[in-house]
């Protein structure tokens, strides 16, 4: 027998990424998984090299980043890659989640895969936020101040909790140090969760565009999906190269090239683009505590999808009403992203409130209502025969 199949560790590799049978009909939308794994590897590698030159001290952090940009050999390449792959990480994770929503991949028997995935998303957001603080520019400092202050809305112990996180009475050297420590360690937790994601997936295998069992038609990862995944990986590298080498600061904010100054607040504080929808939801609700709850709720509400989607059909391939609802959700998410980048004033505030309401209504009413209607119509059709 080949070593790949008899060796106690290699056989795991074989069973997961070499011989594993995949549905023959999965489309390119099933390539996000390998792209995300690629992103994680790139981030850990570039991050490791950045940490060799970075200094997590309020007086030196900004200078050490500029030292990386100017004096370290190809340091600008490592840093720009790290900063931009973070954005691609989120582009892919949103694509991955969108694919799941469209094709009902969260439905039984993949509820565990979905739940681990939602935890990964929340952890990714936390890691992204921690990383954005490290260059210690103006947006780093004030973004950290705004976001950590959110926790002060928690009744009774909120203020104490915030000071515990800061390690002082404001975002300070202690905060920066612990953020660096966490930004380094949490990605390994993320990698472990990603493995758990894979293990949970392995039992039943991937969903497919038709939403029905694919056991009748499966082909091995190698060579078929290995080479299919390579296409999107190289395409990703191509697009990434264009961004890193020609538009490296496209997704950044110019204020973060101003060294952090606790004495001067920037004209506007905006988070990274991938956090804008949640920021919009936060600001749409006038009460601080409820706003914070809504912001975290907007992430964790993804967990209830397997419960509220009562339809007997998995995926939207054969559900025209749900297709429409899906695209409404996507457009609404983009609207929230846009609102998050605007000043909280009329008419953006009102648009944001409507979009926030729609976001929650989609999960709580639209998805179950369409499922119920479909099931009822199906029952009527079967009974009348």
């Amino acid at each position: 027998m080949r070593l790949l199949k008899s060796h106690s560790l290699l056989r795991l590799l074989n069973s997961y990424v070499v011989d594993s049978p995949q549905p023959a009909n999965i489309s390119y939308l099933w390539n996000f998984g390998s792209l995300l794994a690629t992103c994680l590897v790139i981030q850990i590698l570039t991050g490791c090299f950045l940490a060799m030159h970075y200094q997590s001290h309020v007086d030196f952090a900004f200078n050490s980043v500029e030292h990386i940009m100017r004096d370290v050999n190809n340091g600008w390449l490592i840093r720009y890659t790290h900063a931009n792959v973070a954005s691609f990480f989120f582009i892919f994770v949103y694509g991955h989640i969108g694919r799941n929503l469209y094709y009902g991949s969260y439905k039984s028997p993949r509820v565990l895969v979905w739940s681990i995935g939602v935890i990964i998303l929340v952890l990714m957001i936390a890691i992204g936020f921690l990383g954005y603080v490290l260059p210690y520019g103006q947006m780093s400092l004030w973004g950290a101040t705004v976001i950590t202050n959110l926790l002060s809305a928690i009744p009774l112990f909120g203020k104490d909790l915030v000071e515990l996180i800061w390690g002082g009475f404001s975002v300070s050297n202690a905060t920066l140090n612990r953020f660096f420590s966490l930004h380094y360690i949490l990605p390994f937790l993320l990698a472990a969760l990603a493995l758990a994601h894979l293990i949970a997936l392995h039992t039943h295998g991937s969903n497919n565009p038709n939403g029905i069992s694919s056991n009748g038609d499966r082909i091995a990862i190698h060579p078929y999906f290995m080479f299919k995944d390579l296409i999107t990986i190289f395409f990703f590298f191509l697009v990434l190269s264009i961004i890193v080498f020609y538009y490296p600061n496209l997704l950044g904010h110019s204020d973060n090239y101003i060294e952090a100054n606790p004495m001067s607040t920037p004209a506007s504080i905006v988070p990274e683009w991938y956090l804008l929808p949640y920021y919009a939801i936060l600001r749409s609700i006038p009460n601080k505590l409820l706003g914070v709850l809504a912001m975290f709720g907007s992430l964790f509400i993804l967990l209830i999808l397997p419960l509220v989607d009562v339809s007997r059909i998995r995926g939207n391939q054969f559900r025209p009403a749900m297709k429409l609802a899906f695209w409404f959700f996507v457009v609404n998410f983009i609207i929230l992203m846009w609102i998050g980048s605007q000043h909280p004033e009329s008419p953006y505030l009102e648009i944001g409130q409507v979009a926030t309401a729609f976001y929650f209504i989609w999960f709580l009413f639209i998805v179950p209502a369409i499922g119920l209607a479909e099931n009822t119509l199906m029952d009527i059709a079967i009974e009348s025969k």
């Binding site: 500029e66 100017r70 390449l77 190289f234 590298f237 110019s254 090239y257 506007s268 391939q317 000043h343």
Partner: protein
Amino acid sequence: MLSRLPLAALKSSGALGASRSTLSNVGTRSASQVRFASSSSASSSAFQSLFTSRASLVSVTLFSAGSIAWYTHLYGSLPFIGEVHANSLADDGLHPGVYPWPHKGLFDTFDHASIRRGFQVYREVCAACHSLDRIAWRNLVGVSHTADEARALAEDVEYTDGPDDAGEMFQRPGKLSDYLPPPYPNEEAARAGNGGALPPDLSLIIKARHGGADYVFSLLTGYVDPPAGVEIREGMNYNPYFPGGAISMARLLFDGLVEYEDGTPATTSQMAKDVVTFLNWAAEPELDERKRLGLKAVILFSALFAVSIQVKRFKWTAIKNRKIIYKPPVDKAH
């Protein structure tokens, strides 16, 4: 497999049957070619599949996305909705124009003669108030000056070094490894010398301002008299490009202020252009190398992308040409 059936094939059942039967014969030909072949008999259906084929869908989508990207590239803001940023326009100051910087294009590098002139403008004009902390004399070597020239410039400046063997600090002429000298010893001195305003360090100014090089150029050349009704405090100056309109820095660039060693006429806009080019280099010293490496990366990854498509198609040939036959049980009526 239903999801992979082309839209046009679903339009008529006749075409559907035809495309299925051709599919098993044509070997490696792609589905879209098959679709054209199956519907070429009637011109109306040929037109129909021309408009509804996946190739048209992809190309029209790419055209649409590409035109948005091109518009954004040309005008610096997204079409219809304008630039996406958090400030309202009133706080932002007048939007700077879009200028054709020599280093702007994908294949363009810095105009190094302009960097050299810009350094002269910085040294003779800006350096009176603004520091350039992140640039050392050595950075100029091979960019705007020769090693000897840069060394000579450094030696003009006295740096405090030490302590020596006796424990005393001493003055010595600058070396290539020294950083450009700041005009003020500390922030308080800078504020005291400028009516309370702090002249920012210019090392990163192009990256640290919204609008970048266009903004700084517009600011330097944009001083005008305040419009009627706008009150400017004593010691402040009106500049429509500056957020809020009132800026502590007065207009400094006037025609003929410096004398360029290469004989270029030192007009206001020429000096502004040169100093902004210099500052852009100071903010992004890696730009030339970055774009060169970028072209290499694009060559490498586009080639790998192309090869990966070929390999995938080769590996999948057998799968793509399978014939799936459904044999209904004979004892059932349907």
